[in-house]
């Protein structure tokens, strides 16, 4: 009798964990779908905040899942016309002032992109929060007054992910990824990616203000503000060619 009841408890716990895993995966999938489209266009203002200085840049960005994206810098004047093109694992830059296309060599991939807290590698790395991680629902928690699912993501061994653990807060209403914490092997939070100021872009409600906060260097952050965002626009791979890179504006 005792043994049987134990079995039942084990079974219940087991089934519970399965259902929560499915729930977590479902939540992540919904949130991810909301953030992505087959293709997208955005106009972004990026502010680099350092303890002693700040720098603001505006840019246009196009992307075509999963391999292509292109960024055109509008301001400041000195950098206007600079284009960054991502094709698969490669990053190319078009420098209008010297009329030259330069491929970023592997040794420079971990350097910061345009002085921001993003690296060239961040632009290229295409890990999917849906397929590259195992998800666990840790419960619900209010983040900035919004009730959220708190989900822990552990990278799968075969996924090329540098983080040991990622924790995301996804709003119960609307499935918005409001906060993502990245942890290293020592369990220390390395950086946080935080979204706020929900706006409607077409038929979607999304945070328009994002902050990348590296936790090891206080006073530093990179702010991304989406001035415009469109999903599933019509474009194909040809748009992301080295030739077109020199022509976009």
């Amino acid at each position: 009798m005792k043994r049987e009841s134990l079995h039942i408890i084990v079974l219940m716990v087991f089934s519970c964990s399965i259902s929560s895993a499915q729930d977590a995966l479902e939540i992540i999938r919904k949130a991810d779908e909301l953030m992505r489209g087959k293709s997208s266009y955005a106009q972004i203002t990026m502010t680099i905040v350092k303890p002693e200085w700040q720098r603001k840049m505006t840019m246009k960005a196009w992307s075509l899942e999963p391999d292509y994206s292109m960024i055109y810098v509008l301001a400041p004047a000195r950098d206007k016309g600079t284009v960054t093109l991502k094709r698969g694992n490669e990053v190319w830059n078009w420098l209008p002032s010297v009329q030259k296309v330069i491929k970023i060599p592997p040794s420079m991939m971990l350097q910061s992109w345009m002085g921001s807290d993003f690296t060239n590698d961040d632009l290229v790395r295409a890990s999917s929060i849906v397929t590259d991680y195992t998800h666990t629902l840790l419960g619900s928690e209010a983040y900035e007054g919004v009730e959220c699912y708190k989900i822990q993501l552990i990278p799968k061994p075969e996924a090329g992910v540098v983080w040991a653990k990622v924790v995301v807060w996804i709003s119960i209403k609307g499935f918005l990824e409001l906060k993502t914490d990245y942890f290293d092997e020592d369990g220390k939070s390395v950086k946080s990616f935080v979204g706020s100021k929900v706006k409607s872009f077409g038929d979607r409600q999304l945070p328009a203000h994002w902050e990348m906060i590296p936790n090891d260097s206080p006073g530093n952050k990179t702010i991304l503000e989406y001035d415009d965002l469109k999903f599933n626009i019509s474009m194909n791979e040809d748009y992301f060619s080295l030739q077109n890179m020199k022509r976009v504006h």
Binding site: W53, D79, V98, I102, K103, P105, M108, S116
Partner: protein, 406 residues
């Protein structure tokens, strides 16, 4: 006293062969120790000199935190008056401002990461002799808009004098630094590391390119002597002002300091073994000499010679032998070392390759620092004096009757 000296001197030459053997054992000991230590110290000095003189300088002034981050964002504004005030320190021989950054250099389809340094051409040349490294083309001038490339870098990019290369990197506070610059000269460095990565712009042009007007990432100082380092450093620290860091070459290259310390400890151990061998050599000859003369000592004591007088004379003999050996060792050692100092021994083969890999020219340099001569001579001389204690003990305990019969 004069009589004792006279007697000791005569005793020495009573048996010329014995004296010559003792003297030469001291002589070889001094010579060996001298050459060994001179070689070690020479190579340390050389390592320091080549790292410090070739680029780093004895002291560098940076913006706070620059040395850790090596980012142009930590650059500082250093006015001409401030450079003047550094130069006005009597110990400071060179003041060299630089603006350093890592960039991509590109020509045609090749792109390579390179270190680019904005330099004040005459000052840089005065300190590091950069103009003499020009292999083709010309050296930079003030306000020059051209670039100098290391041979390895130029070869990789397939760039020759008159060609243009594209510089692409990040300037001050994240601005894009991109420019087309003509190659005006190719530099040949003895060290492949420098050859493959170094490129130079004029300071003014680099400041424009990186959007950092008036800024430098470092000011390198050469001083008249290593001995003044701590002193000059504290003076410069007071002058440098806030938000700066003043570092000595030891702080900038702790690995060099450590490798010297480790190697020096090994060298001292070798010297210790050498001293032990030398000590027993000297002791052996003195013991033989004493035993040979025990009959003579016995006769002298039995006819009424005071023991202390006898001891004084024999100790004087030993000191004379040591002085002679050490003196001849110096006389022979100095020209030999002087020659080696001027003509360092070139290395070949694997050893040479290892040195080149460390960024050094493959030679065995020698030091002519007076400290070495004094230290080695004093050490070997005191070894000889310690050995002179043996006849002293023998004479004190000598039984004339037994000695006469031996």
């Amino acid at each position: 006293m004069n009589l004792f000296l006279h007697l000791a001197w005569r005793n020495l030459w009573r048996n010329k062969r014995r004296t010559l053997i003792s003297t030469s054992s001291v002589f070889f000991a001094v010579l060996l120790a001298l050459i060994m230590r001179s070689m070690q110290n020479g190579s340390y000095d050389y390592m320091i000199q080549s790292s410090v003189g070739l680029y780093l300088g004895y002291i560098q002034i940076h913006g706070e935190g620059y040395w850790d981050k090596r980012s142009i964002d930590q650059s500082i504004v250093v006015e001409a008056e401030k450079l003047q005030s550094f130069a006005s320190n009597p110990q400071v021989t060179h003041v060299v401002p630089r603006l350093e950054s890592f960039v991509l250099l590109s020509k045609g389809v090749s792109t390579k990461v390179a270190q680019v340094i904005g330099i004040d051409p005459p000052r840089e040349d005065a300190m590091t002799g950069l103009a003499h490294r020009i292999h083709a083309g010309r050296f930079l001038q003030k306000n020059d808009t051209g670039i100098l490339l290391g041979t390895g870098l130029a070869k990789f990019l397939n760039a020759h004098c008159g060609d243009s290369v594209v510089i692409y990197g990040q300037g001050f506070h994240g601005v894009t630094a991109a420019a087309n610059v003509p190659v005006v000269g190719i530099l040949k460095f003895p060290l492949p590391d420098l050859d493959n990565t170094m490129s130079y712009l004029s300071l003014e042009y680099a400041q424009w390119l990186f959007d950092a007007p008036g800024r430098v990432t470092s000011v390198a100082l050469m001083i008249s002597s290593q001995a003044q380092l701590a002193n000059v450093r504290s003076q410069i620290e007071r002058m440098a002002g806030e938000k700066t860091e003043v570092m000595t070459w030891q702080e900038m290259m702790p690995e060099l300091v450590q490798s010297i310390q480790a190697d020096s400890a090994g060298g001292i151990l070798m010297l210790l073994i050498l001293y032990i061998v030398i000590g027993f050599g000297i002791f052996g000859t003195i013991m033989m000499m004493t035993n040979e003369r025990s009959r003579e000592f016995g006769v002298l004591i039995s006819i009424g010679m005071k023991r202390w007088k006898l001891i004084t004379v024999t100790v004087m003999e030993t000191i004379m032998i040591s002085l002679l050996g050490a003196g001849v060792g110096m006389v022979v050692g100095i020209p030999v070392l002087w020659y080696l100092y001027l003509h360092p021994i070139p290395l070949t083969g694997d050893a040479a390759a290892a040195m080149v890999a460390y960024g050094l020219e493959p030679i065995i340099p020698f030091s002519m620092a007076p400290g070495i001569f004094i230290a080695q001579t004093v050490i070997v001389f005191s070894l000889a004096v310690v050995c002179a204690m043996y006849p002293l003990l023998v004479i004190r305990k000598l039984k004339p009757v037994a000695a006469l019969r031996s």
